[in-house]
């Protein structure tokens, strides 16, 4: 039951309590995997849902993620042998010519919260860098962000370059002007309008 309390503390964004409860559970000998999954990762799913349905807002999502990460820090020293927790690797970045990073950062944060390994390349990233990172990190998903109508065509170039490179990686896109229709048009594997949606989509693609 107490593991559920950790999740609850994450959802109410109480960092101090999360750390305290995680320590207690570790001391009590609770499975590290259970603390991680039922305590921390599930909590971020709930946070994501609440954000999507409009009952939580961006600053609260950030606070919850911070609380979750504080709990994760406590777990880390115990995560060594066999407890490989990653649900796959995601390469994320804002495309060449575009410097907007706020939405992209939120998506990266939520993906980390969902237990994925996230490699954030930053902003103004060209096709070559995305391809290189996808190969180097053996990524399952490449996530592209663009906030400008003028940089949307760059997404097409990058998606095409990834396909041409012949690597087994899915591409997803997002950002204010981007639509599902545009994703279809350029041959991306998915689109999301918000951060929790992007996490859900990535989870499905990584499991596929």
């Amino acid at each position: 039951m107490a593991v559920k309390d950790i999740a609850e503390a994450v959802v109410v964004m109480d960092r101090v309590k999360v750390v305290e409860l995680v320590k207690t559970e570790i001391a009590a000998g609770t499975e590290i995997d259970e603390i991680l999954n039922a305590g921390l990762i599930d909590a971020m799913d709930i946070v994501g849902q609440k954000f999507s349905d409009g009952s939580l807002f961006v600053p609260e999502m950030l606070m919850a993620a911070k609380a979750m990460k504080a709990g994760l820090e406590e777990l880390k020293p115990h995560l060594s042998a066999g407890a490989a927790v990653s649900r796959g690797t995601v390469i994320i970045g804002t495309v060449k010519g575009d410097l907007h990073d706020i939405g992209k950062n939120l998506v990266a944060l939520m993906m980390e919260g969902a237990g994925m390994d996230v490699v954030d390349l930053g902003v103004d990233i060209d096709a070559e860098k995305f391809v290189k990172a996808a190969i180097e990190h053996n990524a399952g998903v490449v996530a592209l962000s663009a906030l400008l109508t003028t940089t949307m065509p760059t997404m097409e170039t990058i998606v095409a370059a990834i396909k041409e490179a012949g690597i087994a990686v899915k591409t997803i896109i997002g950002g204010a002007p981007v639509t599902a229709a545009f994703a279809d048009q350029i041959g991306a594997d998915g689109f999301s309008a918000d951060a929790p949606g992007a996490v859900e989509l990535t989870r499905k693609l990584l499991a596929a």
Binding site: F57, V58, P59, L62, D101, T149
Partner: protein
């Protein structure tokens, strides 16, 4: 306050559809409504139409200017589209916007050099988005100097210090307004302008936060705004804030606004 009406933007569905259908009436109605509500410039944007932007921007300028004498703010980073729009524009247009991003800067500077065009100078560089007052001032300094060296008058420059969302960093509100104040102090005769709805990204009741933030920025010297002039709450806040900032002698505009029913 110099109001730049933001509604004729192709990324708004109504306008995107109207542009594609060459629907003169819809565009003219939105232009006229904004002029009547006090816009000093009508922003025109056809950015979503890759390849057709010059043609559509030219059409927008002609269509808008058939029903109003209010000049346009030509909203594009593409010099070909900007030139096409300028070719048919009557009066002195505003260009929205140059920035310190190399490509944008190199493309638009020749269009602006030696002209009497108004220009929005956006504090953005290839180094990314500015976060602090200092980041903004460094970019503003280079932009203003570059423009002045290219014979653009200081009084024709509107520096946009770039609003960033409050929801992700507690300092983003104050860093912006302090930057406004310092830019206004450093360059005599300059203007500042911004689109400010980004401040409330990720938060509820956005209109309330946008209006309050507008008042705070006006208090520090902001004298231009890219807004929806049909948003009565916003326009009322602007009128009241200008009076409170001591920029409305004898509260003339405030009282005029009151009598016109704008402060209700």
């Amino acid at each position: 306050m110099i109001i730049i009406g933001e509604l004729i933007n192709a990324s708004r569905k109504e306008i995107g559809t109207a542009i594609e259908a060459q629907d003169v009436n819809t565009v003219q109605q939105v232009a006229k409504d904004q002029s009547d509500a006090g816009a000093n410039y009508i922003d025109v944007n056809a950015g979503i139409f890759v390849g057709k932007e010059p043609q559509y921007l030219e059409w927008l300028v002609q269509t808008v200017q058939e029903v109003t004498d209010t000049p346009c703010a030509i909203d594009s980073p593409d010099p070909i589209a900007v030139e096409a729009a300028l070719k048919v524009h009557k009066g002195t247009a505003m260009i929205n916007s140059i920035s310190l991003e190399k490509e944008r800067y190199d493309n638009l500077m020749p269009v602006l050099a030696g002209t009497d065009l108004k220009v929005i100078a956006l504090c953005m560089s290839d180094g990314g988005m500015p976060e602090t007052v200092d980041d903004r001032l460094k970019i503003a300094d280079k932009l203003v100097n570059g423009l002045v060296q290219n014979k653009v008058k200081v009084e024709n420059i509107f520096v946009d210090p770039l609003v960033q969302p409050m929801s992700v960093n507690n300092d983003f509100g104050m860093e912006f307004v302090v930057a406004v104040e310092q830019i206004m102090e450093r360059f005599e005769g300059i203007h500042t302008a911004c689109g400010l709805s980004n401040i409330s990204y990720g938060l509820p009741a956005r209109k309330f936060m946008n209006r309050t933030f507008m008042s705070m920025a006006i208090c520090r010297g902001l004298d231009g705004a890219i807004v929806n002039p049909l948003d009565k709450g916003m326009m009322a806040s602007i009128i009241a804030a200008e009076a409170l900032a001591g920029r409305d002698d004898y509260c003339v505009n405030y009282l005029k606004g009151y009598r016109a029913g704008m402060l209700a």
